[in-house]
Symmetry: C2
Subunit: 316 residues, 2 copies
Amino acid sequence: MGEFELIRRFFQPLAGRSASSSLILGPGDDCAIQRVPDGRDLVFSVDTLVEGVHFPKAYPSDKLAWRALAAAASDLAAMGAEPVCFTLALTLPCADESWLSAFSRGLFQAAEEFGLALAGGDTTRGPLVVTLQVHGVVPKGQGLHRNGAKNGDLVCVSGCLGDAGAALEYLAEPDPTQDMQAVLQRYHQPLPRLALGQQLSGVASAAIDISDGLAADLEHILEASGVGASIRAEAIPLSPALVRLTGDQAVDYALRSGDDYELCVTLPPAGWQALPSDIRQQLSVIGSIEPEPGLRIQGWQGTADQHGFDHFRSMS
Amino acid sequence: MGEFELIRRFFQPLAGRSASSSLILGPGDDCAIQRVPDGRDLVFSVDTLVEGVHFPKAYPSDKLAWRALAAAASDLAAMGAEPVCFTLALTLPCADESWLSAFSRGLFQAAEEFGLALAGGDTTRGPLVVTLQVHGVVPKGQGLHRNGAKNGDLVCVSGCLGDAGAALEYLAEPDPTQDMQAVLQRYHQPLPRLALGQQLSGVASAAIDISDGLAADLEHILEASGVGASIRAEAIPLSPALVRLTGDQAVDYALRSGDDYELCVTLPPAGWQALPSDIRQQLSVIGSIEPEPGLRIQGWQGTADQHGFDHFRSMS
């Protein structure tokens, strides 16, 4: 199967089925063309997943496609952006039809779920690497940034944290319990907070998606904003399944492991009070911003490296 | 060296030095933000280069960076787009400082030459794979497409073809002659036709950049346009160096080998006549569009596969 045949069979149908009115020209020419409406800015982010680094060898390709698009789309959520389209750069050791068929299926399901149309891509032969770039739009000047956290702001997170990190322990489990299945679902099929991100646009003072663990990602907000924060370990939202599976370690998973793709945002107390209750219900207040730099975690005994996953940290 | 340290040292300076007024937010947040002016459409393309497939093992990283950005920028040229910015997804086996330093230098030189600002990226650990996505803008509805070639249009190409393909024979040459150096330069440091592409916007009926060889790329135009073409082998522009080095094979290199990143365009005879002479001087008329599908090459004895480089063609 040639490169063009491969694209025609597995990706062109996806492009047709997930078309967006903003996508003037999709795959098949030298470039794709996107119309950005007047009064909107383009926001975009690129994410790479490498076999053996970001996902295990022989990981099912439908799940891989979903996770890859979810990870990229989560960056749009963190900017408060409306999703539009994405490109796929796929490097593959061989053109295996069943692998490609499942990959294409998972990608289409995720694209439909997240509202992202396939705009173009590049397929090449090589080690298995998936790079996705997602495009969204925000009202001009309204994108959520990392650098706006102010003293006195509340620190909030969406959903429950730590599940996807704990799931790594159970990937090879032949007969997972119901609790294991619950956290595995969070790992295999994360749901980026796209609607919530847009609802917090113009309200949150800073935002980031939690891809490397709460501690590492909140620290990015603190550094970019030139402030510090104090959070309470007991306030960090944990799923009952995670607590039952990992006991006292549940908070460690939430602080240190990524892949949950929840949002961490800061906002002034008045902004929090003014939020509609259905949005507040998706968030937990876990602490507040303080002038003194650094992250302080009350009620947590951990002393080891608080940082999350860093793909180069172990290297010289 | 951690991932963030690596970005800070080798890529943040590049971002600062090549800033574009259209790039509202560059690297360092969850997404980058680009402002697309009213009356313009965004055009974008993604390209991947894999070690051992698109470039040899131990290929110098400054040249790799230039070639990767040139290959991607060439797609902007083929759309007649004005370059704006790009993202870099870089997968690396290790964070080697001298490799990264040269890569960053080559990338900056190319970015400055092509008018592209670094908007964001992702660095990960893995086999050496470089994925670049370039962004440009065109006046609304004015992007050059592949599908507009009409019966009677002239077929033109820019520059000379085949040099980069022939250069592959001399990559390991310890003491290259002047002619070898000339074709090697075309391979190591291709110059996408960005200005020419913009000048042909609104004039050419179809356009493509020659990345897979003239025969394969012109066939993309023919298929997309539902037409055929007849071209004359003797009219294909060849550099004196290529002719001296490869003799009768020079036309084969021009037809079959890619990496030259010249443009192939079609345009009505009246459009050709109306072009300013400085633009006509950059183009050679090599044939014309005909109703009968397929590509006919007059005065060429080649009978083997006329197609260019296809990364999956040899696979099952």
